[in-house]
Symmetry: C2
Subunit: 351 residues, 2 copies
């Protein structure tokens, strides 16, 4: 007897803590509702939302089980339930119905009617569109500069020991800088120097160029100086470009209830104003298309979540676009907007 009841108990308990279809249905309804209203949800509300055929008592016991499993929390004992970070994670991984992105793509494409000539302008527009459409704060972090390929490079004499370096890259991005050159050089120098730098730099990626800085060792002094200045300039450029952050809609955060507390706002602002923290948010994203990070376990702040996607323009990665907001984020919408926008800009340069 004793033995049997013990076994029975274990069976019951394992069953109780198994995430059945009904539990999934409850969890999904609860999170969907919480995302909209930001208030704890009671068993009665669940019943009204999606289970008119069972009583609230039944739902209560399911809620109790879900709480034991770590998916739900109660702000206090006589309150309804709210999703835990673990619940959002489960929702995002298993319950969220992906909205068909086509609609978003169509809507979003209207914003991009113009043909932009510069990556920077596309990015600025992208950030704004994402923020406006989702109603969350949006960021784009540039990256992937090491794969930029130099198409052409020219040295233009400006007189006064100055020369202008013009670089045309695979992104259509032009970087220019004035460098010092040795005194009293004739025009023949510029012709041969131009030939030299085209030979040395054209069709190479920034990565290759910066990785091999000693190629100039056996050159004549004047040429070596020019060469070194250009390598330095390119590596400065890479430094400055990688990690550049475009931000839009910081004040959107106030339209969400959890940010009525100053502490949360403080936390939020400290994240979006600290480049190091932003970079951390995309640190391990290299191989995923869409990455969702929720809560402080995943290097986002408490009560916060970040959805990020790789950002490709004309076939080449330019960085990551991301949306940052409360844990209670409308993940469906955000994912589909980010998907739509990235699709829209992906083809831009090909037109």
């Amino acid at each position: 007897m004793c033995v049997f009841s013990h076994i029975l108990y274990i069976v019951c308990k394992e069953d109780r803590l198994k995430i059945s279809d009904r539990k999934k249905k409850i969890l999904r309804a609860l999170i969907d509702d919480y995302i909209v209203h930001c208030e704890p949800i009671s068993s009665n509300q669940i019943q009204a939302l999606c289970m008119p055929d069972v009583s609230s008592a039944t739902i209560r016991s399911e809620l109790g089980a879900l709480e034991d499993m770590g998916y739900l929390v109660q702000p206090h004992k006589s309150a309804g339930r709210m999703p835990s970070t673990k619940a959002y994670r489960y929702y995002v991984d298993n319950l969220m119905e992906e909205t068909e992105a086509n609609e978003q793509v169509r809507e979003v494409s209207n914003y991009f009617e113009d043909k932009f000539s510069k990556v920077e302008e596309i990015i600025r527009n992208t950030v704004k569109v994402i923020s406006d459409t989702t109603n969350y704060t949006s960021l784009v972090v540039l990256g992937g500069s090491e794969n930029i390929i130099i198409r052409d490079i020219k040295l233009v004499d400006l007189g006064d020991n100055n020369a202008l370096v013009v670089v045309i890259t695979s992104k259509g991005v032009l970087k220019d800088k004035v460098i010092d050159i040795p005194k009293n050089l004739d025009s023949k120098f510029f012709v041969s120097a131009n030939n030299m730098i085209v030979d040395m730099f054209a069709q190479k990626s920034l990565k290759e160029i910066i990785a091999a800085p000693n190629q100039a060792d056996d050159m004549l002094d004047e040429y070596r100086q020019v060469f070194k200045e250009i390598v330095l300039m390119l590596s400065d450029y890479k430094e400055a470009r990688d990690g550049q952050v475009y931000l839009e809609g910081a004040d959107k955060i106030f339209s969400h209830k959890e940010f009525e507390s100053v502490d949360n706002v403080k936390n939020f602002l400290s994240v979006i104003n600290t480049k190091a923290k932003i970079h951390q948010l995309i640190s391990d994203n290299n191989n995923v298309e869409v990455n969702i990070r929720i809560g402080s376990d995943e290097s986002v702040g408490d009560n916060m979540a970040v959805v990020s996607v790789r950002c490709v323009i004309g076939g080449e990665e330019v960085g990551h676009a991301m949306v940052i907001g409360p844990e209670r984020m409308d993940y469906k919408k955000v994912v589909s907007v980010l998907g739509g926008v990235t699709k829209a800009i992906e083809v831009m340069k090909k037109e």
Copy 2:
């Protein structure tokens, strides 16, 4: 009797509402203290701070007069007094002892050890230095592009119907853009086109160039197209550059007590995130070196103040630097830091 007492009454009243030296002393002490502690100040505190020789009752009556004159407010009847916007205005105009800026200049100069080659880098550094040193949010708004003078301009053939326009301006700022050019042009075209554009643009200001767009009417087609593209590019550049905003230290706002209320933070963020509002803040500054705007009467938000200065690099105006914070701002410090920083960068290009 009746007549006399009436006259006496008027005299008394007028005296009472005259801002005597003692009132000034009280007002200054009160504001200085409030700037630090952000709490209403009582008659006893004033006595302890700066007037041990008169009783608190006397100070009370002075405080009452200052309140009637509109310089002080009480959060409620049994509380101490706080400065009104009018009081800050009076303080800034009449009471504030200017700190000797030399000290700040010296301190600040250390930040600028490097010789920067680009205005943008100087600006970025400036914004950061100001924010770090004052512990308020700092902005620089670019402006005055119409006075930029074009030193040199070149057209570089890139092949594929593209040419690169390189512009060297009086600010050391280089602006480049790829323009479309007519097909099948030989190298002779580039030589003559280069001569033409140097003749037409060099040594002129952006203002002049943009104001007279019809100079090309009697040119050959190829040249006219190039000319128009360049004018368009320069005017795009002016548009994009004027009004560009650099911002630093938005989260500094939280270190000030009045921004423990979310409403104030909201207001603050809506100002610094709205370019139109920022531009309004420097709209009538053209003829003043330092401009202080306090409170919503002067197009700053409620409870907020802005100190702005003209920003000159190498003898030419590049825009305005400003500090934005609570009304209860440490005006002395802010004014002297802004003064110091602008002095430090003023000479930069001349070195």
